[in-house]
């Protein structure tokens, strides 16, 4: 744009859009890009989502998942640093497909579901790593212990307006005091527990 025309632009805008229209003009981007700018938190579609983990015992990976959890995720794709996420997992919903193993996993030496019914992740910061790639920093609380973790994840916009957020991180179960006593002998059960999540988030409600 030639510099000579630049000063005339505000005047022409003012002429085209009288004062009473201005708030509406400002609101327009919000209406169009609403879910990117100031959306109410999205809720997770449990039926389409998975939170799973894998525990290795003597080299054998035993996979499990949690079937009940709630999440409030305000993912601001335009300003990732303004995103907030809080995910609560119902420990007693643990399911490995082997009832005997489930009973052990939620028992006192392991996740102690009676005393600590929920595991909670609360984000403290989210930053962009590239197109549709993010990293969330946050506090993970399991079995009464809180540790800072970094969770990389990617997002995919689904055709129906929902958003898929998926990623993986590894926690050390002994950081949280998970699995004690006789279970900690030698390297019977690996310390590192990979956790995978695939959360399908509802379309952001209009502001």
């Amino acid at each position: 744009m030639p510099p000579s025309q630049a000063p005339s632009l505000p005047r022409s805008q003012a002429r085209l859009h009288p004062g009473w229209l201005r708030p509406l003009m400002l609101a327009l981007p919000l209406l169009v890009f609403g879910h990117g700018v100031e959306a109410a938190p999205r809720v997770v579609d449990s039926g389409a989502s998975q939170i799973s983990f894998s525990v290795k015992q003597m080299g054998v990976a035993v996979d499990g998942r949690f079937t009940r959890y709630s999440a409030s995720i305000d993912l601001d794709t335009e300003h990732p640093e303004q995103s907030k996420a809080r995910i609560e997992v119902d420990i007693s919903s643990l399911d490995t497909g082997t009832p005997e193993a489930d009973a052990i996993a939620i028992d006192t030496p392991w996740l102690n579901a009676n005393a600590f019914p929920k595991a909670v992740f609360e984000s403290t910061a989210v930053r962009s790593l590239g197109p549709n790639r993010y990293q969330a920093e946050g506090q993970l609380t399991i079995r009464g212990s809180t540790r800072a973790i970094s969770v990389p994840f990617t997002t995919t916009a689904l055709p129906d307006g929902r958003l898929r957020a998926q990623g993986e991180f590894t926690l050390n179960r002994t950081d949280f005091g998970i699995g004690g006593g006789e279970w900690n002998q030698g390297d019977l059960v690996a310390d590192a527990v990979p956790v995978r999540f695939n959360l399908v988030l509802s379309p952001a409600p209009s502001p």
Partner: protein
């Protein structure tokens, strides 16, 4: 007695003997572990016993394949004279033993996969799952593993009973063929006894 150091005694090769007795030793561990572990409540001990049992099974499977390979290269010595029904029964039993020694570990591996527990040999070498997790199939394969093991126990009982009968009743060289020649460690000593 013809069985005392018969001059024409032809023994199994040392390789074949090693394979035979190693298999016997492994089965002496795998059977008791298997029967005991399934009764236990889930505990570290149970997990360890399951792993040991599976590792033994994988070892037996590999060992039997090697033994069959060796058998094709180095055929067993001729059988001592016995009635044809006895020869045929021995032949059928041996084939059944080989078959079951392969089928039992196979069924255990498949059962384990179907129940969602991969077999990781010596906690190091993951053996791929041929089938995915399927509880109904897992329960069916558990029955198959159980029945095949009962058949294997039956065949082993017949095998051991026949070997003992040959040795102590018929007093022939059938069992000696599967034993190393300890008494004849030096030709000089053997001559000296005579």
């Amino acid at each position: 007695m013809s069985r005392q150091d018969p001059s024409d005694l032809q023994r199994y090769s040392l390789t074949a003997q090693l394979g035979h007795w190693l298999t016997a030793l492994l089965l002496c561990a795998a059977f008791p572990i298997g029967f005991y572990m399934v009764e236990l409540a889930l505990s570290p001990t149970k997990l360890k016993l399951f792993s040991y049992h599976k590792w033994i099974g994988v070892t037996v499977f590999a060992l039997v394949l090697l033994r069959l390979l060796w058998r094709s290269v180095s055929p067993p010595p001729p059988s001592p004279a016995m009635p044809s029904w006895a020869l045929r029964t021995a032949q059928i039993t041996h084939r059944l033993l080989y078959l079951l020694l392969l089928a039992v570990p196979l069924s255990g591996w498949l059962m384990s996969s179907a129940k969602g527990f991969q077999t990781v040999y010596l906690a190091q070498l993951p053996i791929p799952d041929l089938i995915g997790k399927d509880p109904a199939l897992g329960a069916a394969l558990e029955s198959v593993h159980w029945i095949l093991n009962k058949m294997l126990l039956g065949a082993i009982t017949l095998h051991v009973a026949a070997a003992l009968k040959h040795h102590f009743v018929d007093r022939d060289a059938v069992l000696l063929r599967m034993l190393p020649a300890l008494r004849r460690s030096t030709p000089l000593a053997a001559h000296g006894e005579r």
